[in-house]
């Protein structure tokens, strides 16, 4: 379990990084290394060059901006989990991060790494999808913004181009007091989940849903928004929600199979977990007085 030979680069600036990205063939960016290094040690991946971006200033940090909360790609999962800003304004992301790996892996692993790696069960990209995050991508000639709806291109495949890197993720928080719910099932705490669900809701003063987002992850190759079920929730009264459209939508997904579980069981879980997430969102919703 030693990685095949590679050349190691450690740029100190974005410019150096840009030059390396545009000149090297078969190169990989090294962030927290918590997915990349195991894959190299298992010899699943054999890049010729590793570009370590840990020393480039300004790639980590959580900033509140008028356009939303910007989380630098190199921000460690542990720092996001302990951030008061995230806790207060993106509580769903905080809630989800409790389920990501272990203290040790969160101390190194980054949100950018997870969003570029795109494991189907990864919580961080899934939360980006339900929160309609924007991915700020740096390329040789500047920046481009990729909406979450265009970021996921398939199994382990993001919209990132050859010479691009992920700079930051920008998320517009939902209204103060919004309801959020998260549920996943993994065999052991910190494992990649077999399946998961998340829900966000806002409601009017009279307790009717005004805005909703629903998502299943770990079921298909990429996290899936349940758009029709979201629409069906609008105007429904909290406390008497019809959960069935959400459950049915989750159960209708094209579930993956693996050595441990069948698509049937995964679909079954998708239904159970979206219901739990939605119920939890109803309990976390702060009722307007």
């Amino acid at each position: 379990m030693k990685a095949p030979p590679f050349q190691y680069h450690r740029p100190q600036t974005r410019e150096e990084l840009g030059t390396l990205l545009s000149s090297l063939e078969n190169a990989k960016i090294l962030a927290g290394g918590q997915s990349l290094m195991p894959m190299m040690n298992l010899r699943v991946l054999a890049p010729d060059h590793l570009i370590d971006i840990n020393r480039i200033p300004g790639l980590a940090g959580i900033r509140e901006t008028p356009e939303g909360i910007e989380i630098g790609a190199m921000t460690r999962q542990a720092d996001i989990l302990s951030s008061d800003v995230v806790k207060a304004r993106l509580p769903l992301l905080s809630r989800a991060l409790e389920h990501v790996g272990h203290i040790q892996t969160r101390a190194r692993g980054t949100i950018g790494g997870s969003c570029c790696h795109l494991d189907p069960s990864a919580e961080q990209p899934a939360m980006c999808a339900i929160l309609d995050a924007e991915f700020i991508v740096t390329r040789p000639d500047g920046h481009r913004i990729v909406p979450a709806s265009e970021w996921f291109e398939g199994l382990l495949q993001s919209a990132l181009g050859e010479q691009e890197f992920l700079e930051a993720i920008r998320i517009k928080p939902w209204a103060k007091g919004h309801g959020y719910g998260f549920a996943e099932y993994a065999r052991r705490h910190g494992d990649f989940a077999i399946a998961g669900g998340a829900a966000l809701i806002e409601a009017s003063k009279d307790g009717r849903i005004t805005r909703a987002a629903l998502l299943s992850f770990g079921i298909e190759a990429s996290p899936r928004r349940l758009s029709d079920a979201e629409a069906a929730l609008i105007d429904q009264p909290i406390g008497k929600l019809d959960l069935e459209p959400a459950v049915a939508a989750a159960r209708a997904l094209d579930a993956m199979e693996d050595v441990h579980v069948t698509p049937d069981y995964r679909r079954h879980l998708a239904g159970v977990l979206i219901r739990r997430a939605l119920n939890e969102a109803c309990t976390t919703l702060e009722r307007q007085p």
Partner: protein
């Protein structure tokens, strides 16, 4: 016996070193000029190697040599000697150090690459090209057992390597007349083992004397020396084997492995030190695994729920080889009749070869399987008769007043097996009391309100421990007054250094810090067997006691001469021999040791033998039987199928406790092993024998986050069969645990749920079972 230290919960002397990262493991050994080895391993389960092309690989950076079996022809050849020959195994089924022609499981070592670094060795290993003729593969033991199956070894006509039979009493008569007979099929999964430290070997050769030195992460260093010496046709004296700190063994490291031989042969060939450290990927495909068995069982019982007779047939998955002979399947037979006073037993075990990694004893060997069968049967009988599960057990168990109880089975030497002491019903009653089984229904109701199904499980076991013939110990007091204990028993983290020091310190009246324990170095102690089968406290522990008493007697004799006091009036205390009642009439042990070390021209008093030292071997001729009763509670999430063990209570009797802290640690770890068996660990192979769960992402080793608090209560029935009254404690936690957890799951699923004759169970299965009960 008990003293200042024996029986006390003293903290382990090993811990400061091991917990602060200053342990010294095989991988910490660095020698000048050392080469690093990586193996070329089979990526296919069955095939014949036509040729091996190593030219490209040899040209790669840092590569020094690549050897196949042919390259060792001038040193040694042929298959490795069997560790435990058995008359039923007509020809030994052992590995070659490197596979020479036919490869029989994924992961089998074919060639060894020596390079200046492990990374370079791995690069080159990947570049060795094999030309292979693929052969039909059999990876499912039930299929392998069928008459027309492909064979795991192409030259064999059948995969059945041996058929073992055992029993007693008149089964036919009892079954014919029994009130009830039930038949059940059981499928117990093989599972892996996974010590924290994988295997590893460093071999070195003395260029002047040709002597070999081998450091290996092993439970059986003396067996490595013995078999390697036989294979190399060398005298044992020219081979030194030692085990530095070993990060867990649990059974698989008791084998003598092909890699140990291949590394030794490479060192002899290249005349440089060679290091091989097994990585986790290799561990999944090259280290022996647990105990897959399929059982078909008939049980006869009466209207009162008394279990009377069992007839059983077993298909035992031995994997591709039998390096450890038939030891593993033999432990299945030896685990009957457990705590049950059966009138008759009739067992047949077909030992079957498959194209998978071999199985060999892992914590409990096949005892957990048999505990699973017997305990599941007891639950099954209770359900059939509508009785309480504990009533079936109480009516069927061997009673305390029947001790010593002759089971009806025979030991390997033909002598009748007899349980020495114990109170099985008492243990069960105690555990039910401790878990408050009486109030369980209230807890079930409370869980129900939270949407969870709660179940209570129980399971008991009896465990044969302390198997002979011996482990020995020598004790020497140095002129500085320090006590050095040496034993051949190797240590894998069990706390031997603490436990042996406790025994020696009491006998010699010294402090724990004055005792140093040296384990498992063939240069420091001449003989050893293996640290396996919960035998070290009985064998080595007793030998330490016997040796310490010899040293004590010698010190007293010396002091009696010097002080001119009768021996009976002397005692050992505070590092000295002193006259009872007269505190300042004493001679320090250091002075005695110095005097017995001799000075030119000065005769020793009373013409005594020099050296304040002694060696002793306790011959453990009869097994001693530990036992336990477990109870646990699980909560099942009926929607996801998740099972969580929420309480676990153990009552355990391993005779006198040398150190309750250490025993608790053994039991707690053992229970976790069993919970892993019941709920988590599944080693999956496809039909082609390809392992599909070879990382910890896919192979679910239990983690602390899923484990319940484990409450332990001891009963202490001294064993009459050794001088310190102990019984083994290394496996008693594991043996009943899977049975106990599955019993609880079945109870949670309710009276309409299925009988569960398998493990591990999965959440997916639980959801299906619940669907079927609705």
């Amino acid at each position: 016996m008990s003293g200042r230290f024996f029986g006390a919960a003293v903290t382990r002397v090993e811990d400061a070193r091991l917990l602060t990262g200053t342990g010294h493991y095989v991988d910490d050994i660095e020698l000048p000029g050392m080469l690093h080895a990586a193996f070329v391993r089979a990526s296919f389960a069955h095939g014949r190697i036509r040729s091996i092309d190593k030219r490209d690989a040899l040209a790669m950076p840092g590569v020094v040599a690549i050897y196949t079996m042919d390259d060792f022809a001038d040193i040694a050849q042929g298959p490795m000697p069997p560790m435990a020959p058995h008359p039923l195994l007509k020809t030994p089924i052992t590995y070659h150090p490197l596979s020479d022609t036919e490869v029989r499981h994924v992961g089998e070592a074919i060639a060894i690459v020596l390079a200046d670094s492990r990374a370079n060795a791995e690069d080159a290993a990947a570049a060795v090209i094999l030309d292979v003729e693929y052969l039909p593969t059999v990876s499912d033991v039930a299929l392998a057992h069928e008459a027309n199956s492909p064979t795991a070894h192409s030259q064999h006509a059948s995969n059945i390597a041996a058929t073992m039979k055992a029993g007693f009493g008149d089964c036919a008569r009892i079954f014919a007349k029994a009130d009830h007979v039930l038949t059940e099929q059981f499928d117990i999964h093989r599972g892996g083992c996974h010590a924290m430290e994988c295997r590893g070997v460093v071999a070195n050769i003395d260029l002047l004397t040709d002597a070999l030195t081998i450091s290996t992460s092993s439970q059986s260093p003396y067996m490595v020396r013995r078999h390697l010496a036989a294979y190399l046709d060398r005298d044992e004296n020219g081979i030194r084997v030692m085990t530095p700190d070993v990060g867990g063994g649990f059974g698989p490291k008791a084998n003598v492995y092909a890699e140990e031989f291949a590394v030794a042969l490479s060192t002899i060939k290249i005349r440089r030190p060679v290091k091989w450290i097994e990585d986790r990927q290799e561990h999944f495909v090259a280290t022996t695994q647990q105990r897959g068995q399929i059982w078909s069982i008939d049980v006869a019982f009466d209207n009162n729920g008394r279990m009377r007779a069992i007839r059983g047939h077993c298909i035992h998955d031995n994997g591709a080889y039998a390096p450890y002979g038939l030891i593993l399947p033999a432990t299945a037979i030896a685990s009957f009749p457990g705590p049950y006073a059966l009138e008759a037993l009739d067992l047949t075990v077909d030992v079957v070869l498959t194209n998978l990694v071999p199985t060999s004893p892992v914590r409990g060997a096949c005892r957990p399987n048999v505990a699973f069968l017997l305990e599941r049967l007891a639950d099954r009988i209770a359900r059939h008769l509508g009785m309480d599960r504990q009533d079936v057990r109480q009516r069927s168990f061997v009673k305390a007043e029947q001790m010593p109880y002759t089971t009806g089975l025979k030991a390997r030497d033909g002598s009748p097996i007899s349980y020495d002491s114990g109170d099985y019903t008492g243990a069960l009653n105690l555990v039910l009391d401790k878990i408050a089984a009486k109030d369980f229904e209230a807890r079930r109701k409370e869980s129900k309100q939270r949407g969870k199904l709660r179940g209570l499980g129980i399971a008991s076991c009896v465990e044969d421990t302390g198997i002979g013939p011996f482990e020995g110990a020598s004790i020497r007091v140095t002129p500085a007054g320090k006590v050095i204990v040496a034993t051949g028993a190797s240590s894998q983290g069990q706390g031997h250094r603490t436990a042996f020091a406790q025994i020696a310190a009491d006998a010699l009246g010294v402090e724990l810090e004055d005792v140093t324990v040296e384990t498992a170095d063939t240069a420091k102690f001449p003989l050893g067997i293996s640290t396996i089968a919960s035998r070290i406290a009985v064998t080595a522990g007793s030998s330490v006691q016997l040796a310490a008493h010899k040293v004590r007697a010698k010190a007293i004799t010396f002091a009696s001469h010097q002080l001119e006091v009768d021996e009976h009036d002397l005692e050992l205390e505070g590092g000295a021999v002193r006259v009872k009642g007269i505190a300042d009439m004493k001679i320090k042990l250091s002075e005695i040791a110095r005097a017995l070390a001799g000075s030119t021209g000065v005769p020793l008093p009373g013409n005594m033998e020099p050296d304040l030292a002694a060696t002793a071997y306790f011959n453990s001729n009869a097994l001693t039987f530990a036992y336990g009763a477990n109870a646990c509670e699980v909560e099942v999430d009926p929607e996801t199928g998740d099972v969580r063990v929420v309480r676990y209570v153990v009552v355990h009797d391993c005779g006198k406790l040398i150190n309750p802290l250490i025993v608790d640690g053994q039991i707690r770890g053992g229970v976790v092993h069993g919970i892993g068996n019941a709920l988590f660990e599944r080693m999956i192979y496809d039909e082609q024998g390809q392992p599909l769960t070879t990382t910890y992402g896919d192979y679910f080793l239990p983690m602390a986050s899923e484990m319940p608090p484990i409450e332990i209560h001891h009963m202490e029935t001294p064993s009459p069969r050794n001088p310190i009254g102990v019984k083994g404690a290394g496996e008693g936690g594991t043996i009943p645990a899977a049975a106990c957890v599955i019993s609880a799951v079945e109870d949670a699923l309710g009276p309409n749920g299925p009988f569960i004759p398998v493990h591990p169970i999965s959440p997916q299965q639980v959801v299906q079972w619940l669907k079927a009960t609705r």
